[in-house]
Amino acid sequence: MIELALAVGQTQTPEAVMFWILAPLTVAAAFGMLLVKKAVHSAILMASVMINLAIFYIAQDALFLGIVQIVVYTGAVMMLFLFILMLVGVDSSDSLTETITGLRPIAITAAVGFGGLMVSLLSRATLGRSAVGLQVANENGNVKGIAQLLFSTYVWPFEVVSALLITAALGAMVLAHHQRLQTRPTQRELSTERFRGISLANAAGLPAPGVFARHNAVDVPALLPDGSPAANSVNATLEARGDMLNSGAFELGKIDTSAGEEK
């Protein structure tokens, strides 16, 4: 790894200091991603890696990229990750025990092999030319230089990327968008429906969950005057899913402290 040393860097020493402080941090953070149980923690560590990378970009005369890295990547993309994590369950945690036989040793061997071999290879590499540095290229400013390339040489991929963005949007729509397949009934129709139903008992609306019970969570059924649970007070989906709690524990009459704890 010989001729890659930059003779040009005027920020040589400060850069080295920065590098040797941040690089271990970055690696540690990245490594941490593998070790922490909770996905959220991984996400945070990932964000820190990205920010560190942004610093490295800036340190390497890639100002524009550094900013984009923070604004777009860390700011938007990682937030998207976090958002989805919230959706999936923010406190979901991964067991780190390996369930697939033999995979972990393979992974570790492969990792060590990969890293070791790559490092060893890099140390062997020569380019046959000395490093140039970006002083000349960034003469008119990094952003301007990139723009120059982006809008002339790479205008075609730049255009095509737009198609990619549309694809992404369309894809998200397809997978996530619940189309309304019929017009939502109007209030009028709903009330007509209620009154024309089999029984007038529900004409005034269904009982709310938790009524007369000691707990008013959505999965606790209301209690009828006789103390029995009113099944229609709980959302049908919850019931179908078997998430409806046994109302007996929440009857008003009996004081049962343990039930609350259980819940």
């Binding site: 593998l34 996905a39 991984s42 140039v132 230089g145 397809v174 996530a176």
Partner: protein, 99 residues
């Protein structure tokens, strides 16, 4: 300061990302590890850009970010779909198709 150090760093990050894909089970974490690999590649691009003294590398890195963003959208959409169907974000649970 040797620019090569950035390359070593990049390799390390890439390796960690690759291993993360193999060892982690949460689909989102797996995906983040892939992002880590992409970032490692970006770092390599930026470093080489500096070594080579031209901005093409940075442009590639820029494109990578855009493409990665698109990928994230699609990927997360798929993961969410799976999650909704299976109530699980573990990639191991999705193993109906085998042999």
């Amino acid at each position: 300061m040797d620019a090569a150090n950035y390359l070593y760093l990049s390799v390390l990050l890439f390796t960690i990302g690759a291993v993360g894909v193999v060892v982690r089970r949460n689909a989102i974490v797996v995906f983040m590890c892939i992002e880590l690999m992409l970032n490692a590649a970006n770092l390599a691009f930026v470093t080489f850009s500096r070594i080579n003294g031209d901005l093409n590398g940075q442009v590639v890195a820029f494109f990578t970010m855009v493409v990665a963003a698109c990928e994230v959208v699609v990927g997360l959409a798929i993961i969410v779909t799976i999650y909704r169907s299976r109530r699980s974000a573990s990639v191991d649970d999705a193993s109906l198709l085998k042999r």
